[in-house]
Symmetry: C2
Subunit: 146 residues, 2 copies
DNA sequence: CAAGATTGAACCCTCAATCTTA
DNA sequence: TAAGATTGAGGGTTCAATCTTG
């Protein structure tokens, strides 16, 4: 047998639909209330939480799992929107700093985000299913099949 | 309490990680073996399976959940890569037809896809957890919180 | 040289405006 | 007019090539 069975296909279809729906709902709430995109939010929360408002671009990339190019392109857009500034770091590299505007927006966004995650991911899952879900998600994240 | 608890955060983090990982692994196998992107694969499978190789653009958009603009942009790229052709439909609209090259690639891609879904989504989940996972995914897909 | 960063091209998605035609 | 489709702009991602500098 080569193609997917009806059972297998149902799981795949539901997986795609749920993955997309949850992410889209959470992001939509952040965007509509602050104008921040998902990557914007990721950058600002990390620089504020882990760096107190400033952080080396290098370290930020590692923390986000972004490569240099992706982060550079994104910071260029964020800088042009007044969310962050960039200046040369002592020694080598670049320091990213959150602007006042960025700080204000991320403050709001963090609360919207927490609320949205609760409503769109936590609450819809039966409390009795949560442990199973966590173990399944761990297996799927880890799965490093050839 | 406003921000996420450690428990809540674990679920959210695992959810994002697993969602991304499974999708990325499946798509990577299709792309590396055929050069087709995920949207390319979606278009080609639908036109072949549901239309026998031809389909109205209109109907294709509905079947994919794409709006007209998104599909139009994507078909423009696919046409330039020789995967499909477009010509006016009898009456109104446009007919999309899969080229020979498109047909060959999607044949391979469907098998790679089925195999990848099995290895990256079906098999890593304990058989005893499958029913719970399906019910959780249904709840999350459906969830239409305000 | 090697690490840190940027750039350009090609792909992808969304929104708003426009075009075409039954 | 309304349905079907296209277009342009702006944001996002990836890859390969390049720049910069200790």
């Amino acid at each position: 047998m080569v193609l997917l069975s009806a059972q297998e296909n149902e799981l795949w279809t539901l997986w795609k639909k749920a993955s997309d729906a949850v992410r889209a709902r959470v992001v939509a709430e952040i965007t509509s209330s602050t104008g921040l995109s998902d990557p914007d939010f990721g950058v600002l929360t990390r620089v504020v939480e882990l760096g107190g408002g400033q952080m080396r671009q290098n370290k930020l990339a590692a923390s986000m799992g972004y490569d240099r190019s992706r982060l550079s392109h994104h910071l260029t857009r964020m800088e042009s929107r007044g969310l962050i500034t960039r200046h040369p770091a002592p020694g080598v590299g670049v320091v990213v700093a959150v602007t006042e505007q960025g700080r204000d927006l991320v403050r709001t966004a963090r609360r919207v985000h927490a609320d949205a995650v609760r409503r769109h991911l936590i609450e819809p899952v039966d409390a009795s299913d949560r442990a199973t879900l966590i173990s399944v998600l761990k297996a799927l994240s880890a799965s490093e099949v050839s």
